[in-house]
């Protein structure tokens, strides 16, 4: 084989590699370096070691954002995953409900900004949520939901639940369609009740789907940005910020790139731990060794 022939296959990789290295890998590495510097983007960067991380860990706002991010992760698992599983089971038992499936999945097509705008008007003092509370007699519970701590974080987590339930429902539905008929028929012939079939046959066979859905919910919970930024900008007084929001604020509101980078690296490490589990699942299924 000539040298040209040996090199040729690599040429096919070049466009994709150039894009990924220039716009993704180099920036990721550079962010790690910047996290050890003091830099506002204009001045000469100063190497300051771990100062950004020390400052971050001593900053009460970081711990508020950390707590909120954990709440987001828990909320992203509890609400949309549970509801998505229940919705998938309902649709599984009522075949032919394609329209219902599509309607519940509709929020997938909507952007975080659109969803945030919809819901921030609903949460206002004169909004739909308070309107309903008034009608059903919870007048004392009326409040501007996005301006009260901790109601604002929970309100946004509910919005996220509305957004993600349909996606999770579709993922669970796909998993359920893959369940073979035989175990269900066998349980049916043995006289198991519907409830037993559901809890002892169907749900256990959904374990691997559930694992993927939960991991994705964790990653999405860590990464949440759009909803918080549009609905509250992390406020009032940074009370509803998450790690992703703090990173953006440090970097592009007050232009402390070093501190922003330290936040970005911390967030990425947390997401990476969750992503390892995700990769293990999908690498196994997609024959990465080949």
């Amino acid at each position: 084989m000539t040298v040209v022939k040996k090199i040729k296959p690599y040429i096919f990789l070049i466009p994709a590699l150039v894009f990924v290295i220039l716009f993704l890998i180099y920036p990721a590495v550079h962010t790690i370096i910047v996290s050890f510097m003091e830099w506002n983007g204009i001045s000469k960067p100063q190497w300051i070691g771990f100062d950004n991380y020390v400052h971050m860990l001593q900053d009460p706002a970081f711990w508020i954002a950390f707590r909120n991010t954990i709440l987001w992760v828990i909320g992203s698992i509890l609400i949309p995953v549970t509801l998505g599983l229940i919705a998938a089971l309902l649709i599984y038992m009522l075949p032919g409900q394609k329209t219902i499936k599509l309607l519940l999945f509709l929020p997938y097509a909507l952007s975080g900004v659109v969803i945030s705008i919809m819901w921030s008007y609903m949460y206002r003092l004169d909004g739909a949520i308070n309107g309903i509370l008034k009608i059903i007699g919870f007048v004392e519970n009326i409040k501007p939901w996005l301006q009260v701590v901790p109601a604002n974080t929970f309100a946004m987590i509910i919005t996220n639940g509305w957004r993600m339930t349909g996606t999770n429902m579709v993922l669970f539905s796909i998993g359920m369609q893959a369940i073979p008929d035989e175990p269900i028929e066998a349980a049916y012939i043995e006289g198991s009740s519907n409830w037993q079939i559901m809890t002892r046959v169907i749900i256990p066979m959904m374990a691997s789907t559930t694992a993927v859905v939960v991991i994705m919910a964790i990653i999405n919970g860590f990464n949440v940005f759009d909803i918080v930024w549009v609905m509250t900008e992390g406020g009032p007084y940074r009370s509803s910020a998450t790690l992703a929001v703090n990173m953006y604020r440090e970097s592009f509101v007050i232009f402390k790139f070093g501190r922003g980078a330290a936040n970005a690296v911390t967030l990425s490490l947390l997401v990476f731990v969750a992503a390892i589990f995700y990769m293990r699942v999908i690498f196994k299924k997609s024959r990465i060794g080949e």
């Binding site: 993704l24 999945f105 339930t165 992503a275």
Partner: protein, 293 residues
């Protein structure tokens, strides 16, 4: 399969069906609010409940006026109209360029003799793993230095790059299913690598190309953080960035016009979802389940 026992079948079906109908009604309630409110005048919005129509003006005419206001804006700030076209460019060009480059790379990784293909794959795949925050600061300063900041070209490049990793992942899986014999016999017949790719792989790739286009178009169209970080002016900001800006100054265009704009901004992705719902469902299975079919 149907698991409800025969004797109680009707009874259960009615209960379950009622539950799911109520559920869907609750789920559509926010969307209903948006449509109703987008058909009101500013006064009508204040004086009526969010989910009730206000007939102080003709709702259809008011809806049209709100859309025009949202698209064109007022004297103090322009609307989302120009951004609609910007985002059309970003989403279409970004998705298609990414699919082309990714398919070339996936072809090489799956079928051509390459040393260290796993390393190359990891490099390309790594872009799907980290939060977008890890890329923002260096890309922002890089764009500022090179004059790409706040340009359509800069955003198109960024969107193309962020779309490539997942496209490589999915196409590589797809190409692994092409029998090696086809590639070998094409080579023996004297076809070059590029000819084999063009005549055998590309025609075979239409299903994943469509799936990828739908997902990447939707992703870019709905993106917010790249849009607000890498562009500032109304001539290059994508639609979601401008829509969020419109909401911040709602006292100017008015809440009904903001909501009408939100409807317009959602149309392309919602129409794609409705038209290609089964492709979206299957695509999600691939994205999260990792199976190639």
């Amino acid at each position: 399969m149907f698991i409800i026992k025969k004797g109680k079948k009707i009874y259960w079906e009615v209960i379950l069906f009622s539950i799911i109908i109520i559920w869907v009604a609750v789920w559509l309630f926010p969307i209903w609010n948006v449509f109703v409110s987008a058909m009101k005048s500013i006064d009508g919005y204040i004086s009526s409940r969010p989910w009730e129509f206000s007939f102080d003006v003709n709702p259809i005419i008011q809806f049209y006026e709100n859309i025009v206001r949202g698209l064109a804006g007022t004297q103090r700030g322009s609307g989302i109209g120009p951004a609609f076209l910007n985002s059309m460019i970003y989403a279409t060009v970004g998705a298609i360029t990414a699919i082309i480059f990714a398919s070339l790379a996936a072809y090489a990784l799956s079928c051509l003799p390459i040393k260290g293909r796993f390393v190359f794959f990891l490099i390309l795949f790594s872009g799907t793993v980290f939060p977008l925050q890890i890329y923002l600061i260096p890309l922002f300063t890089f764009f500022q230095k090179t004059g790409l900041y706040d340009t359509k070209l800069g955003l198109t490049l960024a969107y193309t790059a962020i779309c490539i990793p997942f496209c490589v992942f999915l196409l590589r899986n797809w190409y692994l299913d092409i029998p090696k014999g086809i590639v070998e016999s094409a080579t023996i017949d004297g076809a070059t690598e590029l000819q084999t790719f063009w005549h055998i792989f590309v025609p075979f790739s239409m299903p994943p190309f469509v799936t990828l286009f739908l997902f990447q178009f939707t992703w870019v169209w709905n993106d917010f953080i790249f849009g607000i970080t890498f562009a500032r002016s109304r001539t290059s900001r994508p639609i979601m960035a401008l829509l969020a800006g419109l909401q911040n100054m709602y006292s100017n265009v008015g809440i009904p016009a903001v909501l009408a704009s939100a409807i317009i901004a959602s149309l392309p992705t919602v129409l794609l979802l409705v038209a290609f719902r089964n492709t979206f469902f299957k695509g999600l299975a691939v994205q999260y389940g990792g199976s190639s079919k």
